[in-house]
């Protein structure tokens, strides 16, 4: 990391430097890009492997040394995934759950986070500690009591069970609290003097100022729900309700696993995630820093 930082610092100072330093600046700039590209290659490896595996016959997927470009690409794998299992149904179910849960999570978390970050009230620290503490308990330990609860509410094998379990998370509250807390109090006080209620401040000031944070939570939450396997595994068993991650598992059978089809289906299932990430990217460059508001 140190080298990365020095390199960027160098390249920054180089732009201001005299002509003698110019060549050194170009070199560090080149080095920076080489580093960035090398890192990107390392990050992309699993996807390249997935793409290559998805075009192979199952018997060749784990053959070593790896054949990165399949000699005889099996394009029909991409057709098979839609016909062998009701993949479209699973995509729709995952979409439905992801949209509903993410919306509820961002809405309720940001609401609660505002109170934790900017309002003084009785029991705040204790409550916040309870939120934090809950993150520290592994989910595997309390999935049985949760299941008992859901069965009593007659929600097993219904989407509602997952929505209720995942929409109200401590993680979202904590994440947004940390962002909200760094919004200068002066802005809020000024708004209070202007007669805005706390609700008004939340909607008109906090939310617009926190787009990067809200975008972050949206991405994290959507990725979590989209990729969640254990939740749907325990709660959903009707084919018409299952999600993508359960669908992928249908290619893993008791005595054989069709990795080529799994990888094809996984890649297809990643498309929405990548689209979402790209769509929300622009919010990372649209924060307080660039909108010109200062404390």
């Amino acid at each position: 990391m140190d080298t990365q930082l020095t390199q960027t610092s160098l390249s920054k100072s180089a732009t201001r430097a005299a002509s003698s330093g110019f060549r050194r600046g170009t070199i560090t700039k080149v080095l920076t890009y080489v580093l960035l590209i090398a890192l990107a290659a390392l990050m992309l490896l699993p996807f390249i492997w997935m793409a290559s595996a998805s075009l192979k016959l199952d018997k060749d997927v784990f053959r070593f040394p790896i054949e990165w470009i399949p000699q005889d690409p099996q394009w029909e794998n991409y057709r098979t995934i839609w016909t062998r299992i009701p993949f479209m149904t699973f995509v729709m179910n995952s979409l439905k759950l992801t949209v509903i849960i993410t919306f509820l999570q961002v809405a309720t978390s940001s609401f609660a986070a505002y109170a934790f970050a900017k309002l003084d009230f009785r029991g705040r620290d204790l409550l916040f500690l309870a939120y934090l503490g809950s993150i520290a308990i592994p989910w595997q330990v309390y999935m049985i009591p949760q299941f008992i609860l859901m069965r009593e509410l007659d929600l097993v094998d219904k989407h509602m069970s997952l929505i209720l379990l995942q929409a109200f998370t401590a993680f979202g509250v904590f994440l947004l609290r940390q962002f909200f807390i760094s919004v200068p109090n002066e802005i809020l006080d000024a708004a209070r003097i202007d007669g805005l209620s706390e609700y008004g401040i939340y909607f008109r000031i906090m939310l617009p100022l926190s787009k990067p944070a809200l975008a972050t939570l949206t991405i994290f939450s959507a990725v979590f729900v989209w990729n969640d396997f254990m939740g749907p595994l325990i709660y959903l068993h009707s084919e018409s309700l299952k999600t993508i991650q359960l669908g992928l598992r249908m290619f893993i059978q008791q005595y054989s696993t069709d990795y080529a089809l799994i990888m094809a289906a996984s890649l297809v299932s990643l498309v929405p995630v990548v689209v979402l990430f790209l769509a929300f990217q622009r919010f990372f460059v649209e924060g307080i820093g660039t909108t010109g508001i200062k404390g």
Partner: protein, 309 residues
Amino acid sequence: MGTMKLTLKAASPSKRRRQLSKNLVAYSFILPNLLGFAIFTLVPIAFSLGLSFMHWDGANEISWAGLDNFKALRDDDTFNIALKNTLWYVGGTVPLTMACSLGLAVLLNQPIRGRNFFRTVYFFPYVASLVAVAVVWNMLFFPSAGPVNELLRTLGVDNPPRWSASVDWAMPTVVMASVWRGMGYYMVIYLAALQGIPQILYESASIEGANAWQKFRHITVPLLTPATFFISIMLTISSFKVFDLILVMTNGGPGRATNVLVLHTYNTAFRQFKFGYSSSIAMVLFALVMIITVIQFYMEKRWVEYSQV
């Protein structure tokens, strides 16, 4: 918080009413989340924590155990191994991931061509299927013909490590995989936080003749402390709870070389059906994490700088 209580005591009735309505407004903000959170998370958690003082096989009567489960922990080899492994994993993963994610975020906050591309790509490992991650990582570190060992051999290492197939190297291999997978995720948080730093601070620092390192040290780092605080806590907690990655990469092996607390919790519950005992392991994990978190919170006041801009 402390000062608030003091003012409450000395307050006049009208002031008290104002505080009450302030409380109500605050509760109204929290309620929608708290309601669902309390019913579907806190209640089940309380139940399973209570179980740590009970014997339960998951089907028959529950019976009182007192501290038996906790006493049994002392003689449980696997628990001790798992505890040690977990600490190892946390100690390796947390600092490395934090350093790498901050580095990436700062690097990608520069005006670099293709910035959006790189940002997306660095986030990728986090969304990739865990199976693919495990496969690719194990392939890079494949003992006989993997690229890493090929490189080491050309560099003159005659007997390169057998990585995940060796008792001594399995944990470092998992730690590296987890850093590689997690740094893009935390980079996103850092990136979002970097947007909150007013550009004008850098501009005025430049006018005063500060160099890039000085600006990083005196503007970026302090203003990122809320995010750093959040990341350090979340990363510590999630590293203590590591499960999925271990499961697909090594399943705790070879032998018990990468067995960790949550894996042991899971096995005692679902292989051995000692749900009470399993909860007591989770309690130890919980206590450990909470001690560290509370310490972090106390230290927060010393080093985290909130909205001093």
